[in-house]
């Protein structure tokens, strides 16, 4: 954990979703997989690949077809049996970032909707005119940041950490459904800050619209990810649970590791003070009119149960789950997760 190389002397890319100064708090944190990974190049992560390397791992009996040179003759002398000496191979890590870019991820909160009385439309209009936001800088007013912004900030931080430790990072968004899920917006895993800059630019170009069809997207991604890698998924999990779980199971069963950051807006977790409101679903356009004050507590219970069910289901599948609110600063959420992960390792 203390063997992180210094940050590259070249200036890291300054992008909307990467704030290097804030990541200084994570300089002693290493983003490592919990499972052995398979990499192309020698790296710092444990690999199931075995080869000629410095770290002895195990013996196994010789079988026809093994290289004769791999036989441990000293062991043969002691046991009169042919053993092949196995060495631990340390490989680089591939991190695939998958961000849910459905319309629901563009939710920026319910600001101005919770005012009183007959003057509410006017006050809302007034507040709206005063609280103009700079769309190019979500950090200027974090309360106006969308879930997608929060996801991209975390993904950008993870990508930076990954590149900094000379691993490879790939990026994909889940958007638009089958057939166009990966190919137009996916970036093959590579290393280096130039690649990081490419990833960050791609994040900026994406606008959360439509639906994600996350299950199918994960299946597609699992097929295209041949080797064991780490998948970091940022989503609000407003999806068919079974489809998502099945896809994740398939993904992890191929030796991949997955981490799910459940991104929810603060106003989703705790409904603001509002009177009667017409809620329109971001993705389906479905409308429901209700008085928040009446359903507020029930909703809070429901959303808590919803997140808990996801956590239990994912954890059961061996997938890390981290609930992240837009009300929490992304690097704090990331640091909490990484520390917890390191403690478990």
């Amino acid at each position: 954990m203390n063997q992180n190389p210094p940050i590259d002397p070249g200036p890291p890319p300054t992008r909307r979703y990467l704030r290097v100064q804030e990541l200084a708090r994570l300089r002693d944190v290493m983003f490592a997989p919990r499972r052995p990974v398979r990499g192309l190049y020698a790296g710092r992560h444990a690999s199931r690949q075995r080869g000629h390397c410095v770290e002895f791992n195990d013996y196994r009996e010789y079988t026809p077809g093994d290289e004769v040179g791999d036989i441990d003759w000293k062991a043969y002398g002691r046991s009169d049996r042919l053993y092949i000496k196995l060495f631990e191979h340390q490989a680089d890590m591939t991190v695939n970032l998958l961000i849910d870019a459905s319309a629901s991820m563009g939710f920026t909160g319910l600001q101005g909707a919770g005012v009183l009385g007959l003057a509410q439309p006017w006050i809302k209009w007034l507040k709206g005119s005063i609280a103009a936001q700079d769309p190019e800088n979500p950090s200027r007013d974090d309360k106006r940041a969308s879930k997608y912004d929060q996801a991209c900030l975390m993904a950008g931080a993870i990508a930076f950490l990954t590149v900094r430790q000379r691993d490879r990072v790939g990026f994909a968004v889940a958007q638009g459904g089958p057939g166009q899920t990966i190919s137009p917006k996916a970036i093959e895993p590579r290393g280096g800050f130039a690649h990081l800059d490419h990833v960050l630019r791609s994040m900026e170009r994406v606008k959360p619209v439509g639906r994600a069809h996350l299950g199918k997207t994960l299946q597609t991604l699992g097929r295209t990810t041949a080797r064991r890698s780490l998948l970091v998924l940022f989503t609000d999990l407003m999806e068919d649970r079974d489809a998502v779980l099945k896809a994740l199971n398939d993904f992890t069963s191929r030796g991949n590791e997955a981490i799910v950051f459940h991104i929810l807006h603060e106003d989703e977790l705790r409904l603001p003070d509002m009177a009667e409101t017409v809620f329109i679903d971001s993705e389906t356009g479905r409308r429901v009119r209700m008085n928040v004050r009446d359903v507020r507590q029930g909703y809070h219970d429901r959303i808590a149960r919803h997140t808990d069910e996801w956590q239990r289901a994912l954890t059961a599948c061996g997938i890390d789950y981290k609930l992240v609110s837009t009300g929490t600063h992304y690097h704090e959420a990331l640091r909490d997760y990484l520390f917890t992960r390191a403690a478990r390792a």
Binding site: S104, L116, M274, T277, R286, M290
Partner: protein, 712 residues
């Protein structure tokens, strides 16, 4: 229905505003349609819990809508000004109310706010009060408070239309109002009417006027029991006001082309410093101006020094630029200019017989006997002394007379009180009787000392000396060293002994034994001098010396030249009595009065007293010059001004007025302007619009409270 029978709407037209109830409904619908639409990602979760939303919630909006509609309806109803008749309607048996509107028409009511006369708002208030009455049921009348309060109609009437036309026509007067009389008149009008009685007072609350009125009764109110009084004071603060008053002239009867001082008092009745310009006009021509700065509440004497070039009557007018009370921006004065100062010598001696007192006095005042003389001497006997003879006389010299008749005694006393000077030489005859009679006519006496008995003097004891004060007394300064020597050398053979000198008297000459030789005492604005020496040849050789001329003319100047004309008190609203300078031709036409506006009072407005020259003008209504004329011949002019007390616009406290007006078991209330005053009378019941406003506020409060509660 029972509710409707005990509520009446004073302004039912305002119920048109009931349409405003549609506002909350419209807002409700608009609110429902346009507000609070939000995109939300977790609608599925919301739907899952929506089933918990109770049906009661759906009623909440209707509850709130109902409260809002009720509140708006209450406000609209309040504007319609409903009256709760309730038990009172049955208690009065349906009798109408009696309302008297007392309108203060004093000169101070002519005050203006930003150029708008206050009487306009008084008219509007009176109209609203009448509007609040029920024609044919309620009885009303208007009492106008001026110098002689009167009613618009002889009796209370239910014909309110007549009173409305009256309201449109009243205007402030130039008079000082008899508020106490007006209240008494209003009380008498109300006392004739059974049922509820109401007095509405439209007044400027002038402190001096109301204080004077309140001082006329202390324990018993002029209003009948049960009378409810409503005061409607002006909405504005009293305006700034500068006032001219108290014009005077010095000497009172100026001589042609001789220095004359004309002045008036200028008072700043404002609470702020003021600057102004006083203009002097004589006979309609501008003569002079003065610019002055006055501190708050300061009174300053404005003096113009001028000369009047023609004998006769001159009309003097002071004026200011317009201010908050225009009626006191002018004041008027009449100057009678003479070529010779008129003096009267009263003596029963033959003034043409050398050696007599009358002879010496006449010669001393008129040494040339022609136009060169300063004084025009009129010699009369003691029996001819009357007020008309003395009225315009600068000084009166009395010596060697018989017993004065009562008319003569009264004329002399009145003359002194009016500012004249009387010099009495003590000689022979009923001196003591005459003087004691004079002394008795004045409440505190008139004489500087009372002679008791004649006495003869030796040459030594008769030597005159001048008392202390020669350096400061202007009269004594006339007698220089030679004069004093001449006085010391007089041969005086007979004088009068008497009692102590009055403390108010001033002794100028005295004998070596301390007995007064010349002393005078003031009475009113004038003075009376006793000279304990007679110029008669048998009593002294005073008349033969030139010092006697100095003495006579000095005394005449002293009592004439230093005096001012005193305010004759000719004010609007009070009868003006003046004595004509020109005798009336008794065989001519009946004298008439030419008013300031050029109109003429018929003979009925003029009365002659004493058939000599006294004229009484029935109370004048406007300030200015009133000319008494006989045919085309002007007889005299009188200047009439407004009462200077009207200029002080300070107001009496409403609390003090309430407590002073409170009848036996009545109720007095002072209401602030801004309310619809006519409707606030509550003649036939209790006004409930205040409660409706309260109800509306309560409903709004409940609405907000419910919103707050349901919001939690």
């Amino acid at each position: 229905m029972s509710m409707l029978s005990v509520i009446t709407l004073t302004a039912p037209a305002m119920m048109i505003g009931a349409g405003l109830v549609a506002l909350p409904i419209l807002a409700h619908l608009m609110h429902r349609r346009v507000s609070r639409r939000v995109m939300f990602p977790s609608v599925l979760l919301l739907e899952a819990v929506a089933v918990s939303q109770s049906s009661l919630f759906r009623l909440r909006r209707w509850w709130l809508l109902g409260l809002r509609c009720l509140a708006v309806a209450a406000i609209v109803l309040a504007f319609a000004q409903p009256i709760w008749l309730g038990a009172q309607a049955s208690a009065t048996g349906g009798r109408g109310a009696a309302v008297v509107i007392l309108v203060d028409l004093s000169a101070s009511s002519g005050q203006q706010y930003a150029g708008v006369p206050a009487v306009h708002s008084m008219k509007a208030d009176a109209g609203r009060v009448l509007d609040a009455l029920s024609p044919g049921t309620d009885y009303a009348n208007i009492v106008y408070a001026d110098a002689r309060p009167y009613t618009a109609l002889p009796e209370m009437t239910s014909n309110l239309g007549v009173l409305r036309s009256e309201v449109m026509s009243f205007e402030p007067t130039y008079e000082r109002a008899d508020v106490a009389g007006a209240l008494s008149l209003a009380g008498r009008m109300l006392a004739k009417q059974p049922g509820e009685r109401r007095l509405v007072v439209l007044t400027d609350l002038q402190a001096s006027s109301w204080s004077e009125a309140l001082g006329t009764w202390s324990t018993q109110s002029p209003l009948p029991d049960g009378t409810r009084v409503t005061l409607l004071p002006p909405a504005h603060r009293p305006p700034n006001n500068l006032a001219l008053h108290g014009p005077w002239l010095s000497p009172p009867t100026p001589r042609v082309d001789r220095p004359t001082r004309i002045g008036a008092m200028l008072t700043n009745h404002s609470d702020t410093a003021q600057t102004t310009t006083v203009r002097l006009r004589i006979d309609g021509r501008n003569r002079d101006t003065q610019s002055l700065a006055l501190e708050p509440r300061q009174t300053h004497e404005v003096v113009f020094r001028t000369q009047l070039d023609k004998p006769g009557t001159h009309r003097v007018e002071f004026s200011l630029p317009g201010d908050g009370l225009p009626v006191d921006d002018r004041c008027y004065l009449v100057a009678h200019v003479v070529e010779h100062v008129p003096v009267v010598v009263v003596s029963d001696d033959d003034p043409d017989l050398p050696g007599t007192t009358g002879y010496f006095m006449t010669r001393a005042l008129s040494p040339f006997g022609d136009a060169r003389d300063r004084y025009r001497v009129r010699a009369v006997g003691s029996a001819d002394v009357t007020w008309p003879i003395l009225a315009d006389t600068a000084a009166v010299f009395v010596g060697e007379i018989g017993l004065l008749n009562p008319a003569g005694l009264e004329a002399l006393t009145r003359y002194v009180e009016a500012g004249g000077g009387v010099v009495i030489f003590l000689g022979d005859g009923p001196v003591v009787d005459n003087l004691k009679s004079l002394d008795r006519l004045a409440p505190d006496g008139l004489l500087p000392w009372v002679p008791e008995a004649p006495r003869s003097l030796t040459s030594q004891s008769g030597r005159l000396t001048i008392a202390d004060g020669v350096r400061v007394d202007r009269f004594l300064q006339r007698f220089g060293e030679f004069g004093r020597d001449a006085l010391a050398g007089l041969q005086i053979r007979r004088t009068w002994a008497g009692g102590d000198i009055n403390q108010e008297a001033h002794t100028l000459w005295q004998y070596p034994d301390g007995a007064p030789a010349l002393a005078w005492r003031g009475l009113g604005a004038g003075r009376l001098a006793l000279v304990n020496i007679s110029p008669k040849a048998t009593h002294s050789d005073l008349g033969k010396h030139g010092v006697f001329v100095v003495l006579m003319q000095g005394l005449a100047d002293e009592v004439w030249g230093t005096q001012k004309t005193q305010d004759p008190g000719h004010v609007v609203g009070r009868a003006v009595q003046f004595d004509l300078a020109t005798p009336v031709d008794r065989g001519g036409t009946t004298p008439s009065i030419i008013l300031p506006d050029g109109g003429t009072l018929p003979a009925a407005g003029l009365s002659l007293e004493d058939r000599s020259a006294r004229i009484v003008i029935t109370p004048p209504e406007v300030p200015g010059f009133y000319t008494a004329a006989q045919g085309d011949t002007p007889l005299d002019v009188a200047a009439v001004n407004i009462d200077p007390r009207e200029s002080d616009l300070r107001r009496i406290g409403a609390d003090k007025l309430q407590s002073s007006l409170r009848p036996g078991n009545g109720k007095v209330s002072a209401e602030a302007r801004g309310m619809n005053t006519g409707l606030s009378l509550g003649l036939h019941g209790r006004a409930v619009w205040g409660w409706l406003i309260l109800l509306a506020m309560g409903l709004f409060g409940i609405e907000m409270g419910l919103q707050g509660y349901w919001k939690r």
